[in-house]
């Protein structure tokens, strides 16, 4: 996980970490297998993403299948399973009609000298609050309780 974050930083990827991994940064710990990323929707940034993955995963040829025409077009979600086999990445340029890199509030966390851009608890709560999965609703409830969040947005 850390080698990916390190590569994201070194390549200058513009992203926001969301999902359970982001919750982990905020001290709400539960098991997850994936890393959810909202990335800035631009061709240049998608190239940074590919470069970062190549750096982290030894030039896995599958990385070339990550296409900006998909992420900027009809397929705003791309799932990448790296050869390490221990996790996978959900890379998104938008969620629904409202959430994107530009609209999700984030803060920078540091782990082992690596700077990671993580969605704030409030932003995570807003993303999870209205979803249908019980797991997401459970996450939303935990965020609300832990950070005393209000339903005023």
């Amino acid at each position: 996980m850390l080698r990916a974050f390190r590569a994201f930083e070194s390549e200058g990827l513009e992203y926001v970490l969301i999902g359970a991994t982001a919750m982990g940064f905020h001290g709400l710990v539960r098991a997850t297998e994936d890393i959810d990323l909202l990335v800035r929707a631009s061709e240049q940034n998608i190239e940074r993403l590919r470069q970062a993955f190549r750096k982290a995963y030894a030039s896995d040829p599958h990385i070339d299948e990550i296409q900006s025409t998909d992420l900027l077009g009809d397929y705003p979600v791309v799932r990448y399973y790296p050869p390490s086999g221990d996790l996978f990445f959900d890379v998104m340029t938008r969620i629904g009609e409202v959430a994107s890199f530009d609209t999700v509030e984030a803060e920078v966390k540091e782990v082992e000298g690596i700077h990671v851009r993580v969605a704030t608890p409030e932003a995570l709560y807003l993303l999870k609050r209205d979803t249908v999965r019980p797991l997401d609703r459970s996450d939303a409830a935990a965020l609300r309780e832990r950070f005393n969040l209000k339903d005023n947005k």
């Binding site: 710990v29 539960r30 009809d74 791309v78 799932r79 797991l135």
Partner: protein, 78 residues
């Protein structure tokens, strides 16, 4: 709370979220995920898959997990 006790796996999975101090949160999170992978190793496909929406991506993951559910003692992980 160093020890949590549960009467069943179902009861354990109903309380999956542990709150830890922010200072070492990521380390605790990474260790927790590492334990999960040891307890319940999964086999993933390789490569890149594309989806028209986040919901479509989640549904694909659920289908994959259902295929593994018979062996799951930790169904609340995503």
């Amino acid at each position: 709370m160093p020890i949590q006790k549960f009467r069943s796996v179902e009861e354990m999975n109903a309380a999956p979220i542990r709150v830890v101090a922010a200072g070492n949160a990521f380390e605790r999170f990474a260790r927790h995920c590492g334990r999960f992978r040891l307890i319940y190793p999964r086999t993933y496909p390789r490569g890149v898959f594309r989806f028209r929406s986040f919901e479509e991506a989640q549904a694909a993951r659920e289908r994959h997990n259902v295929g593994l559910a018979d062996h799951s003692i930790f169904p609340n992980a995503d």
